[in-house]
Symmetry: C2
DNA sequence: GTTCACACGTCAACGGCGTTGTCATAAGGT
DNA sequence: ACCTTATGACAACGCCGTTGACGTGTGAAC
């Protein structure tokens, strides 16, 4: 039996046979367990063997449900998009709505960094994504942005949110050793540079260490929203 | 001999001994070969064993130069930064300088998309990176931004540039089939949605297809620069 | 010019990974 | 109650990063 014939689509499953340890597998259970594994034990804990152990089945049993680990991660990504958009409703205040949605997307993706790094750059064209495009464009057009402007700001908003999510998520995917070393580079290397050779770094060392310890996304988001607001004010006064 | 004693810093090397196949190793040669390997055969081709084969040495010889593959990646990242900073000189116009540097970094990273996706998120603490931090902070403080403001804007500027570079690079890394499918999603799926169910997408379809076909970075950069300029004007008028 | 410490390339091995071919067995339609 | 076959289990393959031991050629010292 070749690999392409091994996977059985979820709808066509007929015999739900428990594993030796008693669990009954399903696509849904595997996706949920994968997310739980990432959440509880870090991104590095996601291996087919460990996932099998967490599910109480042989690792190879997973290949009855997904062609390979990439297909499993895409299923996880799809679940993630659904969770992110669920429960968000626009209030009518465009700036607050975009701020809330941006921070929410950023946070939700960071909660599952392994899936986020693999997923952020993809355009799926699936229902959850389409609903988000429609909603964000609606917020911008409802605020009074002309169509061309709304599209441009939509593009910046979405790509910036996803790219920062990917960037921040990728640091969470590093090994424990690499991540702590990364964090310590600012106080240990940059904060100790002499003012003679590096005056600007030395003068701002304290602020630099504090600033680089957190994500730049909230500040970047505020700057984009401020620029958009300025643009909206300009549009309103010149072409009402 | 423990792992921490195995690596010899480049400056302290005394005996340059050729490998069986005749190549003389060096940090520089290893980094260059790594970039070439990634560029020619993709990021997935970067393994210690393949790198050893490309260099004509035993894979374990690399551990005389780098503690582990992560340290090697940091060296590669710094080489990319160095290539970007080479030739850039501030003119005194902070906004034009940051615009030029941002677009240049973005373009240079995209020229090595395979390496970019692996290294964009890393803080190297190495010479080229330190020089770039010093230079950008110098531009901002020279423009009159107070230290706290300069650090915040530096953070947004750098992370935005690198994260967009990683995002845009990752689409270039997809297989030909996946990338064309991704591009066609906008005209084929989004542009065909009916106005009844998706009024905002339908109303902006033409602009949407055109906008999503290019990178959002230039527009995002302009918005951040505009917000920074507004902030600078505010600082100058209230606390001169 | 000989000596000699040791830097550094090589070898072999370890444990872990994703994946696949094969087998056995229990589920469920008949 | 039977048979088919879906599906889980097992074992093995060929990768991977990394390490400890080894020995050889280098370059400094005299």
């Amino acid at each position: 039996m070749s690999a392409s014939e091994r996977v059985v689509p979820e709808g066509a499953r007929r015999r739900r046979r428990p594993t030796k340890q008693g669990t009954v597998l399903s696509e849904q259970l595997i996706v949920e367990t994968t997310l739980r594994l990432i959440g509880e034990h870090g991104a590095a804990a996601l291996t087919v063997r460990r996932l099998g152990a967490a599910l109480g089945c042989d690792p190879s049993a997973l290949y009855r449900y997904f062609r390979d680990t990439d297909e499993l991660l895409l299923a996880v990504a799809d679940e993630l998009i659904g969770r992110t958009m669920r429960g968000w409703r626009p209030t009518g205040d465009w700036r607050a709505d975009l701020r809330t949605l941006g921070l929410r997307m950023h946070a939700d993706y960071l909660a599952h960094p392994q899936a986020a790094t693999l997923t952020c750059a993809r355009v799926t064209g699936r229902t959850h994504e389409i609903r988000s495009v429609e909603a964000i464009l609606g917020v911008l057009r409802g605020a009074g942005f002309p169509d061309a402007e709304a599209v441009r700001i939509y593009h910046v908003f979405v790509d910036q949110t996803l790219s920062f999510a990917a960037l921040d998520a990728s640091t969470l995917v590093l090994t424990e050793r690499a991540r702590t070393q990364e964090v310590r580079t600012w106080p240990d290397t940059y904060a100790r540079l002499p003012a003679g050779t590096h005056p600007n770094i030395a003068a701002t060392a304290g602020a630099l260490v504090a600033e680089m310890d957190r994500s730049g996304y909230p500040a970047a988001l505020e700057m984009v929203l401020a620029a958009a607001a300025a643009r909206l004010g300009h549009v309103r006064t010149t072409a009402p």
